[in-house]
């Protein structure tokens, strides 16, 4: 890693190439950007990290197939990018190539320079837009405060709608058990999709997602009746919780609300309950669906010891904005979303650039499993809980993998959903049959490894 020591204001911090590639919207962009990471096509490059700004600004001209070179600029404070190329990818390969070139370090092709006119113009236009946005936001808050009564009425209406939806859902689930689940394997996938749509109308996207998943369990292979009953039962429990919200204590009520899909106001949370800590980035993993890329970033506070999960989303063709390099430590504000067992969190102001973090202390596999069990007391809908395993050996078996305590006879199976991943072989490569520290999610399906430490270096899996 090229980054060393805490950041000094105005001093430039270069990203790692992993960090830059984390911005790429897809594999094709990663490849194309890598191709452009050589000095060849670039000219008039430069970067600056003016004091008082959060991130470095990097720019350059890239020769493409046309006669005029593309003007490429990236502001890592946002991050925000601009390129004169016609690509619809965002960021485009030119931005990625430029940033990779810059990430090679101060001895490389991109050195500190005064921004040229076109860069300065873009920066001042962005600053202007940010100010206007802030003013609008301030004005919006004013409106909200002006009529707290209306806001309260809207919330009540929404709660009533959700409760109605939950009652209907509960009825559907009971109907299913009354008639027997044996018919579920053929008949009712369409029916559950309809129920899911009604839950969206009831402003309970969490219920909708769970209801939609019921449709696929019967085709999930041997043992499906048991799994289907588990899902029926947990959704039944959630629907009951939604209907009983008024009577629940604050913590469980918050957990039920967030499980039902009620969003939280991150800005408000950050202004009232933010905790500043050195947050070690334990892992980062992207999962893509048709319309959305979700990036999950797991953190652990050095002083508070608290676990946190931050999500960042990117629409199709765009990478999630938030990039935190695994293994680094970030001095930042963070606010957990209210819950009986807080995990989801929003990241607030970052006070310094990420600095290399320590190898996190971990536990034996039995303790990781107990921690999951303990968390279930507060949130019965948890499928897993983040865990750092210290001193485990990955073992490939005929029918999957396991992580075994290096001293002691305990082992955790690797989540069958993670078995096909190439990352397991990288885990084995790093281990070489010797004990390693592994971060991952530990749950009822087994352990899903996310990061392994090779010496002091964190390796994403």
């Amino acid at each position: 890693m090229s980054v060393a020591g805490p950041s000094v204001t105005g001093m430039e911090e270069r990203w790692t190439s992993e960090q830059v590639l984390g911005l790429a919207p897809d594999a094709a962009s990663r490849k194309a950007g890598t191709r452009l990471s050589a000095p060849g096509p670039w000219s008039d490059t430069g970067c600056t990290a003016p004091a008082g700004r959060e991130g470095t600004v990097v720019w350059g001209l890239c020769r493409g197939s046309g006669s005029t070179p593309y003007r490429t600029v990236a502001d890592l404070g946002g991050p925000a990018y601009k390129c004169s190329c016609p690509s619809r990818k965002f960021p485009c390969k030119h931005v990625l190539g430029l940033l990779l070139l810059w990430s090679a370090g101060p001895g490389g092709a991109v050195g500190p320079a005064e921004p040229p006119e076109w860069v300065a113009q873009w920066l001042s236009a962005r600053a202007g837009a940010a100010t206007r946005k802030a003013q609008r936001a301030a004005g919006g808050d004013g409106d909200g405060l002006a009529d707290p009564e209306a806001a309260r009425r809207r919330a009540e209406l929404r709660d009533a709608r959700t409760a109605d939806g939950a009652a209907e859902l509960e009825q559907r689930l009971a109907d299913g058990v009354r008639a027997g689940l044996a018919g579920a394997d053929r008949s009712d996938s369409r029916a559950w999709e309809e129920v899911a749509a009604r839950m969206v109308d009831a402003q309970a996207p969490g219920l909708a997602a769970r209801a939609g998943e019921l449709a696929v369990v019967p085709s999930s292979g041997p043992g499906w009746p048991g799994r289907l009953l588990e899902e029926y039962a947990l959704l039944h429990l959630l629907a009951r919780g939604v209907r009983a919200l008024d009577g629940l204590p604050e913590g469980p009520a918050a957990t039920v609300r967030s499980r039902a899909g009620r969003s939280v106001d991150s800005a408000a949370l950050l202004s009232t309950r933010a905790v500043r800590d050195d947050w070690l980035v334990l892992g980062s993993r992207d999962s893509a669906s048709e319309r959305l890329t979700t990036r999950r970033i797991w953190l652990r506070g050095a002083r508070t010891g608290a676990a946190a999960l931050v999500l960042s989303f990117g629409a199709a063709g765009r990478a999630p904005d938030l990039v935190l390099p695994v293994g680094m430590s970030v001095d930042a504000d963070l606010a957990h979303h209210p819950a009986a067992r807080p995990l989801r969190a929003s990241l607030g102001e970052r006070h310094a650039a990420p600095a290399p973090g320590p190898v996190p202390p971990g536990t034996a596999v039995a303790d990781a499993l107990s921690a999951y069990g303990d968390a279930l007391r507060d949130d019965p809908w948890l499928d897993s809980w983040p865990a750092v395993l210290a001193s485990v050996v990955p073992v490939p078996l005929d029918d999957g993998w396991q992580l075994a305590d290096a001293d002691g006879g305990d082992a955790l199976p690797v989540d069958p959903g993670a078995r096909g991943r190439a990352g397991l072989w990288r885990l084995a490569a790093v281990s070489g049959g010797r004990p390693v520290t592994v971060f991952g999610e530990c749950g009822h399906r087994g352990f899903s490894p996310v990061t392994v430490w090779s010496g002091t270096e964190a390796v994403p899996l």
């Binding site: 190439s17 191709r35 001895g107 009354r178 009953l229 039962a233 039944h236 279930l376 049959g433």
Partner: protein, 549 residues
């Protein structure tokens, strides 16, 4: 899932239970439907379906909360430690990028202005190995995948990957190839083990380990290596015997002759052929003498019509059992005459010194003698193969002829690229440079391919000049894409000073093809970019931390 549930404590929902149903009871009741059959433990509930789901929820959470670890399977034996130094950080990042580019489908177009990184992987690996580095453990899987996809990468990739890769290959069937690939002995490799250890490794080692042991021992103590091979020869599989015999090429001497003579009777034809080839490369061997006497019997020098000598060829009339035992293949490939086929094999296996001694003429004079009845092509082609096989620079030089003159097509003799490979590097580069200067690039590709990388200054200059001339002549750059690709990989990075100015966009010339100037400018720009990248890559591999940022 090996994880098992803790025996669950009974906690049924108070309103409905009369006895404690098992999880299986719950599942079968739900499957069947409580409407059809309401079990005793649900009777009395207001809504049996809801009560069942309540119970199931409690049980699910109980089961999940009570999960215990499974029992560990036997742990694998750890990989042998790799004592070589780690790559400098910049070089490590470079390797990750090169491998990522390959994984993303490295082939890419020739048209872009950016270099094709996958093409640079082989020389990056060779350079890293020359420094004696080890691969970073987190990149071993990508390195093995790269070597799996491209067998030409295997020796270098596996050398860099070291013992960690062999350990992984023993676990993952996709990487089995690594156990049968021999990595060149690295400079930092351990010296050959003592006789005791040696024998154990030879008896019990993996194929790759055995071949490596044989090669290492052969380099220091050829007789001991032969001894080791003889100890198990009869039990080896045919394809292994072939590789082992081939390992004798290193340090070949007259003391190997008795063993090789025996191998001429081997069950496997490939082993026999290899043994015959090695024997024919031993000028004093009985086989070489037998082949020489057969070959010389076919060729005689007689005074020609103009008074000088000419060669008359009488090809063998048959292929007897003795010839076959000496490695001559009796059946020609389709389309070839038997007699010329046999003649070719006899000449191939005859020590070239036999000709100069028998006729009292140096190679150049022999090559210049006219040959009667259209046998010249056969005879010269066979001499060329013998020169390649016996690595005889004198004969190779004679068969290639003098340095090519402008406007004179050199008479094609055998395969010039293979003959060139026999010449010392410097002479080879000079010959090809002259060829390119006088003949252009059209037939130069395979010859350029045998020149040592990076190309010598005169050769690099000749190729760049020839490309410049091709541009002025108005052709399109993709007619030269093969040479361009070679140049990207092989030009000395310092040649960038000659290439970079050519990337400037010139005026369209009158006789140029439409748009060609732009394409050429792009092609030269890309060439310059690759050369700069290669210079950076080599710089990054230097161990001095001040040199690699």
């Amino acid at each position: 899932m090996t994880t098992s549930a803790r025996p669950s404590s009974a906690s049924p929902s108070p309103s409905s239970a009369t006895a404690t149903p098992s999880w299986d009871d719950l599942v079968s009741t739900a499957l069947l439907g409580v409407e059809r059959r309401t079990p005793p433990w649900l009777q009395g509930a207001d809504d049996p379906a809801a009560a069942l789901l309540d119970l199931a929820a409690v049980r699910t959470v109980q089961r999940r909360a009570g999960l215990r670890p499974g029992t560990a399977a036997p742990l694998p034996e750890p990989a042998r430690p790799d004592p070589r130094p780690e790559l400098p950080p910049a070089a490590r990042r470079r390797l990750a990028l090169l491998l990522a580019d390959r994984a993303a489908g490295g082939s890419g177009g020739r048209n872009g202005s950016a270099p094709n990184l996958a093409e640079l992987l082989p020389q990056w690996l060779a350079a890293a190995n020359a420094h004696g580095y080890r691969a970073p453990a987190p990149l071993l899987d990508a390195l093995l995948d790269a070597a799996r996809a491209r067998s030409d990468l295997r020796p270098h990739a596996l050398e860099l990957a070291g013992p960690g890769a062999l350990w992984l290959a023993a676990l993952n069937p996709d990487w089995k190839f690594a156990l049968r690939t021999t990595a060149p002995a690295s400079p930092g490799a351990a010296p050959p083990p003592g006789p005791e250890e040696r024998s154990t490794l030879w008896q019990e080692g993996l194929f790759a380990e055995r071949v490596a042991l044989l090669a290492r021992l052969r380099a220091t103590d050829p007789a001991a290596a032969l001894e080791l091979l003889r100890s198990t020869w009869a039990q080896e599989r045919a394809e292994d015997r072939l590789m082992f015999v081939d390992a004798l090429r290193e340090g070949l001497s007259a003391s190997d002759e008795p063993f090789l003579e025996e191998a001429l009777s081997d069950r496997s034809r490939n082993v026999r052929a290899t043994a015959a080839e090695l024997l024919s490369a031993l000028p004093g061997s009985a086989l070489a003498a037998r082949m020489a006497s057969r070959a010389l019997a076919c060729v005689s020098a007689v005074p020609g019509p103009g008074g000088g000598l000419r060669l008359v060829v009488e090809a063998p009339a048959g292929c007897d059992a003795a010839m076959e035992r000496d490695g001559v293949v009796a059946r020609p490939p389709s389309g070839r005459g038997e007699r010329s086929w046999w003649l070719g094999q006899l000449v191939d296996a005859t020590p070239l010194s036999a000709w100069t001694e028998a006729f009292g003429l140096p190679p150049a004079a022999l090559v210049e003698l006219p040959v009667a009845d259209d046998w010249q092509a056969d005879l010269h082609a066979a001499w060329s193969r013998a020169a390649v096989r016996q690595r005889d620079a004198g004969w190779a030089r004679a068969l290639l002829g003098p340095l090519p003159e402008p406007a004179v097509r050199p008479a094609p003799v055998g395969d010039p690229a293979r003959l060139l490979a026999v010449l010392p590097e410097e002479e080879r580069a000079a010959w090809v440079a002259r060829f390119v200067e006088s003949q252009g690039l059209a037939e130069s590709h395979s010859m350029l391919g045998v020149c040592a990388v990076p190309w010598s200054e005169p050769l690099g200059r000749a190729v760049v000049d020839a490309l410049d001339i091709a541009r002025d002549a108005g052709s399109y750059p993709w007619s030269f894409s093969g040479v361009m690709g070679l140049a990207e990989r092989s030009l000395d990075p310092s040649a960038v000073d000659r290439v970079a100015p050519l990337a400037a966009l010139p005026e369209e010339t009158e006789n140029g093809s439409p748009g060609a100037a732009g394409y050429w400018s792009e092609a030269f720009g890309r060439l310059a970019a690759t050369l700069r990248l290669r210079a950076t890559m080599l710089q990054e591999l230097r161990p001095d931390p001040a040199a690699a940022p």
